[in-house]
Symmetry: C2
DNA sequence: CCAAATTATACCCTTACAGGTATAATTTGG
DNA sequence: CCAAATTATACCTGTAAGGGTATAATTTGG
């Protein structure tokens, strides 16, 4: 299963030519976590996800449900 | 402590004239969770937060860090 | 084509999230 | 003003998230 969040992380990571290990180290989370994140696990912890997103100058925020995939595709 | 997410939930909830108990029941989460959510706890589980946000036709999505507060204020 | 790097899966263990309940504090409207 | 409702805190418990490590599968570029 894949989710917009998972796709976002994987795409941004590759844009910077970083490995999952790199991300884990830079974000201060476990390697396992980065993998589960990129595989769309739904039960992750909010703060840990944000630690990763901050590497890309992003964070989790409430977004309208319908437009969310569309918008995600744009940026 | 308060966060954009916490503020969003509390504000939307009041807009619909619902109590924390109502939200908890409708979202299928514990009352304790709704409270910690509205108080800005950072370590919540992603899926549970989304269960609540869906009541407002929203969900968590990656958003650019800087503009996030500004945008949150608008909608 | 193959070796190195990267990613995926599986295991065990520790920790703390989430739920329930009970009680106190606060807010609200009658 | 006060009673009812709502919200906040505290405690205990089960469960699973997250970390570490080890190993298999996959991808990549030399």
């Amino acid at each position: 299963m894949t989710t917009p969040l998972a796709a976002f992380v994987k795409q941004r990571r590759k844009l910077l030519h970083l490995s999952q290990t790199d991300i884990a180290a830079k974000a201060g989370v476990g390697l396992r976590f980065v993998r589960e994140l990129e595989q769309g696990k739904a039960t992750l912890r909010l703060d840990k996800v944000n630690q990763v997103l901050r590497l890309f100058s992003h964070e989790l925020a409430p977004a309208p449900l319908d437009r969310t995939q569309l918008i995600g595709a744009l940026l």
